[in-house]
């Protein structure tokens, strides 16, 4: 009897949720969180019910969640595993509930049995113990939107709490991140570590303003034998001995890299191969390694792994490019200092003249505190300023960005503030010569805004689906 009531309750919840999804679609509002909210209201423990119906792979961490999810999706496809996945931005409890319920039949059967879920770090501790994922990838931990998450260590501990609640889950962890790697200590879960071998990347540097300079166990300053970026590298605590664990999936050489790609050698147990990633920058090597670790776990061979890694291209929010009036506009999402610094380094590798537009907004999804722009090394831009035709700033906090550029050594006269998106687009196109590139670096909501204007204005149907 009790079971029957439960079943009716569940079916009722699924039907109501699906109606909400349909209604939103009818109204042409692609809402991803409201249906899940409705479901959680009617059936608070819906995630536990859904857990039994799916084989779940979760991805969390500060940077690289979306790119890693997309590579992981490639690995699943290559393995012939049909799956559902949540859109980035729908990575809280409600968005995840919506994603899972959408792929159920009305009677509650899963149409696709595997779910790949990008999960917000702060929400992870509540979601993971309920969903009991088979595999969980943690990319890294950096400061990001402290106004939302509180402190970095609070975020780390939230993920740790989630992991303690799922002792069976296979963990894929970043060995080079002392914070992330610490999740693998003192637990019984199987762990696969990924990382970059010492001294393989030529542009590594040690930044003293880093997020985790002191040992997480005993507060002694770590010693590094090599650093890739920020606090990532081969760390060792001279006092308690906590050190970078051995990586089972390792980038053993960087053979070549340019502004669009890097060619790397990856070493796994019983295999070693070279592959060309169609993604620029060191941070994407980490994302590729995380994805390759999942591929290896799924049993892919060398050929399969290479096929996925080489076939991968940037998706929404990372880097998008469009041709407008003989100029290339490149949009690259920026959201925190570490990511921003990587993008600036990428700009340094670019050749020829270009135009820059830095868009800073402070809506909830961007982070309401914009102080973090002072942690970004905009000073580096002054090394290439003779190649930059103009610095445009826009977004709700355009003036703050203008001040930041001025204090980074950019001449006041070369910084242009424009709040109107349409006028901004006119200006950047005017300032760029034919065949030149315009780099637009927006925070999250500024990205959504500028995309919409670009799309309407240039009738760009085929791009950014």
């Amino acid at each position: 009897m009790k079971n029957l009531i439960k079943k009716i309750h569940l079916t009722f919840t699924i039907i109501i949720t699906k109606i909400t999804i349909w209604l939103l679609r009818l109204l042409d509002r692609g809402g991803t969180s409201l249906p899940g909210k409705v479901a959680l209201k009617i059936y608070p423990d819906i995630l536990t019910e859904l857990a039994d119906k799916f084989r779940i792979i979760m991805i969390t961490g500060t940077n690289g969640k979306t790119t890693t999810s997309r590579i992981a999706a490639g690995m699943l496809e290559q393995s012939g595993i049909m799956h559902v996945t949540n859109k980035s931005g729908a990575n809280l409890v409600s968005g995840i509930a919506t994603t899972l319920i959408s792929s159920l039949t009305l009677t509650g059967k899963a149409r696709v049995r595997t779910a790949l879920l990008e999960t917000d770090e702060a929400a992870f501790k509540r979601i993971a113990p309920k969903l009991k994922p088979e595999v969980c990838i943690v990319t890294n931990f950096f400061r990001d939107q402290l106004d939302r998450y509180g402190e970095l260590y609070t975020t780390l501990n939230s993920v740790r709490e989630g992991i303690i609640g799922t002792p069976e889950t296979v963990l894929i962890l970043n060995a080079d991140d002392s914070l992330c790697a610490s999740l693998g200590k003192g637990i019984s879960n199987p762990v696969i570590y990924f990382g970059i071998a010492p001294d393989v990347y030529p542009e590594a540097n040690l930044n003293i303003n880093n997020d985790a300079a002191y040992c997480i166990n005993c507060s002694t300053r770590y010693e590094y034998s090599s650093v890739t970026f920020a606090h990532l590298g081969h760390f060792k605590c001279p006092k308690c001995g906590y050190e970078r664990p051995e990586a089972q999936v390792e980038c053993s050489q960087v053979l070549a890299y340019d502004n669009l790609s890097s060619t790397i050698e990856i070493r796994l147990p019983e295999m070693k191969f070279s592959t060309k990633l169609a993604l620029p920058g060191l941070y994407n090597i980490y994302n590729a390694l995380a994805g390759a670790s999942l591929g290896k776990y799924l049993g892919l061979d060398e050929k399969g792994l290479i096929h996925v890694l080489e076939g991968f291209e940037c998706g929404f929010g990372r880097m998008e490019s469009v041709n407008v009036m003989n100029r290339e506009i490149k949009l690259i999402l920026v959201k925190n200092p570490t990511g921003y610094n990587q993008v600036i380094k990428y700009l340094l590798t670019q050749k020829g003249h270009c135009v820059l537009a830095l868009l800073l907004s402070d809506n909830l999804a961007d982070g309401t505190d914009i102080s973090w722009i002072w942690d970004v090394d905009f000073e580096i831009l002054s090394f290439m300023k003779e190649r930059i035709r103009a610095f445009h700033v826009s977004g709700k906090r355009a003036e703050d960005m203008a001040v930041r550029l001025k204090y980074a050594g950019i001449e006041q006269d070369n910084i242009k503030i424009e709040h109107d998106w349409n006028k901004l687009i006119d200006n950047i196109i005017n300032d760029a010569g034919e065949q030149e590139t315009i780099y637009v670096l927006p925070t999250y909501t500024a990205m959504l805004d500028i995309r919409k204007v670009l799309k309407n204005r240039f009738k760009l149907k085929e791009f950014w689906k």
Binding site: L146, G150, E151, T368, S371, W374, D375, A402, Y407, Q412
Partner: protein, 249 residues
Amino acid sequence: MYELTICHLYPDLMNLYGDRGNIITLTKRCQWRGIEVKIIPVSLGDEFRYKDYDIIFIGGGQDYEQTILQDDLMRSKRQPIIEAVESSKVVLGICGGFQLLGKYYRTHTGSEIECIGALDLWTHGGETRLIGNLVIECDFLKGKDPQGYVVGFENHSGKTYLGEGVKPLGKVIKGFGNNGEDGFEGAIYKNTYCSYSHGSLLPKNPVLADHLITLALLNKYPDFMGLEPLSDTLEQQAHDTVIARIISE
């Protein structure tokens, strides 16, 4: 040729959210006027001789990092910091740095952490975080700025209370301030200035930045005649647009 030496205390630990912006601003505003600036980082295990510096800066940190420096601070830096404050050195304490300059921090579970005690103020840990844009009115800046408004962003759970002899930095126009109760923000004692507004406090409030630079120069060069004005169009625009928006919210 004027010269200033700025000490950045615990830059590797107390650097929460853009605190570096304050150092960059002090440096640039000096350099643009031909004043030479040296930045000296002083961290764990380093000797701290306050007489070597003209401006001492301590930013905010996360709880974890503040516990790391506690011993070092109390053992080797507490006394010289008290002497620096008493001898009218220019000191700027932001967020956690502000709290550390006070007498103690009582966590919301009731345990008390002893602090430097250079200023008669104390902090009680709160349950909720006080987060958001902040506008305050500072009387001492009114000669330079029509309203004496300073704008920033606060994010703290500690509630700070001022004792006698310590004045607030300003009156809260928008935001929470020291404790969300008494309507005041920050602290001033001699040439020590404290605020909960982190990160871009000085960049967006050039008048306050110049006030601190002037005090430091006067300490070192008693015949100093005052700073040359700079073209602050962008800074002023950032200051004004944010204030207009926050006040109308």
